[in-house]
């Protein structure tokens, strides 16, 4: 391996310090640019500048990513679950369940509204997984409680929690599915994630 090749390989290894999304998007271009700099300027100068550049930009990129991920899907789902539980406790019955599903749906909408431009698009692609998981959990809870008949207080709490989770999953999956269908309609049938540059 030539000295230039070794320097580029080292630079590529150091690129792992950047957030993954940034590295995947620009890593090849950055390495190519570094190689071109090595071709045109003394190696010591290029390497020194690259090290300073890494020291400054690696933390910056991480801060940017951190700032842009103030609401992750998991956080929103958990928040929705907490909201749904509170609603269910306060308003039992069908109205409580409807409000819990609404809370989950609102959580998903808030996440989609606030996600940044660099955030991974196509996050709604997993809508069917939420629906399947919610459906399976719902069916399991119903089947188990029907089969066992009278439940102890502890079992009732577990069943109610599982039931709530299934409702939240079904609500979130439904909203994500609708949003995804709207995205596809707007983009003329092209999957939204294929529009990412």
């Amino acid at each position: 391996m030539t000295a230039t090749g070794a320097a580029v390989a080292t630079y590529r290894a150091l690129q792992r310090l950047y957030p993954r999304g940034f590295r995947q998007e620009y890593g090849d271009d950055m390495a190519a640019l570094f190689g071109e700099q090595l071709r045109d300027e003394p190696a010591w100068r290029v390497c020194g500048r690259a090290l300073v550049d890494l020291a400054v930009t690696v933390p910056t990129r991480h801060v940017e990513v951190h700032m842009s991920r103030n609401r992750t899907p998991a956080l929103v789902i958990l928040g929705s679950l907490a909201l749904a539980s509170a609603v269910f406790v306060l308003v039992e019955g069908a109205l409580g369940l409807a409000m819990a599903a609404l809370g989950a749906g609102l959580g998903v909408l808030i996440w989609r509204r606030d996600r940044p431009a660099m955030a991974e698009r196509g996050g709604a692609a997993g809508w069917w997984k939420l629906l399947v998981a919610g459906g399976v959990l719902f069916a399991t809870v119903v089947a188990t409680t029907t089969a066992t008949g009278e439940l102890s207080q502890r079992a009732w709490i577990v069943a109610a929690a599982a039931f709530l989770v299934s409702v939240v999953l079904l609500g979130a999956g439904t909203v994500l599915g609708l949003v995804r269908a709207a995205d596809r309609h707007r983009s003329g049938g092209v999957r939204p994630e294929t529009l990412v540059p």
Binding site: F22, D29, A31, L33, Q37, V56, E64, A117, M118
Partner: protein
């Protein structure tokens, strides 16, 4: 971007000014910035692509790689100003010219190099 009140950061400013002449790929952009600033602003790969990423997100530049036929072996990505980016670059240019003009009017004669 309409309504931008704050001046662009140094790297972003030099990149939009460099792109006023037309589309450029990463390395050419870096060289052009170096040239425009007379060597005062030297962008490293992380700074260059971090700033490009930000300008793309802000809608001031766009990638044009696939819009123009290029040599088969060429795998570079090209960037150009959007209409908002061009307006911003021209606003910045006006702001800088105005700054130079105002400062020049208040500096005593013989104080400038």
């Amino acid at each position: 971007m309409k309504g931008r009140l704050k001046p662009l950061p140094v790297a972003a400013l030099h990149i939009v000014l460099a792109l006023l002449e037309g589309e450029l790929h990463g390395y050419a952009l870096m060289r052009r910035v170096d040239e425009l600033s007379n060597g005062a602003v030297r962008l490293g790969p992380g700074t260059l692509y971090g700033t490009i990423n930000r300008l793309l997100a802000d809608g001031l530049i766009e990638e044009t790689t696939d819009r123009v036929a290029r040599a088969d072996t060429e795998r570079r990505r090209y960037y150009q100003l959007t209409s908002d980016g061009r307006a911003t670059a021209l606003d910045e240019l006006t702001r800088l010219q105005s700054l130079v003009h105002r400062v020049g009017a208040h500096v005593p004669r013989g104080a400038t190099p």
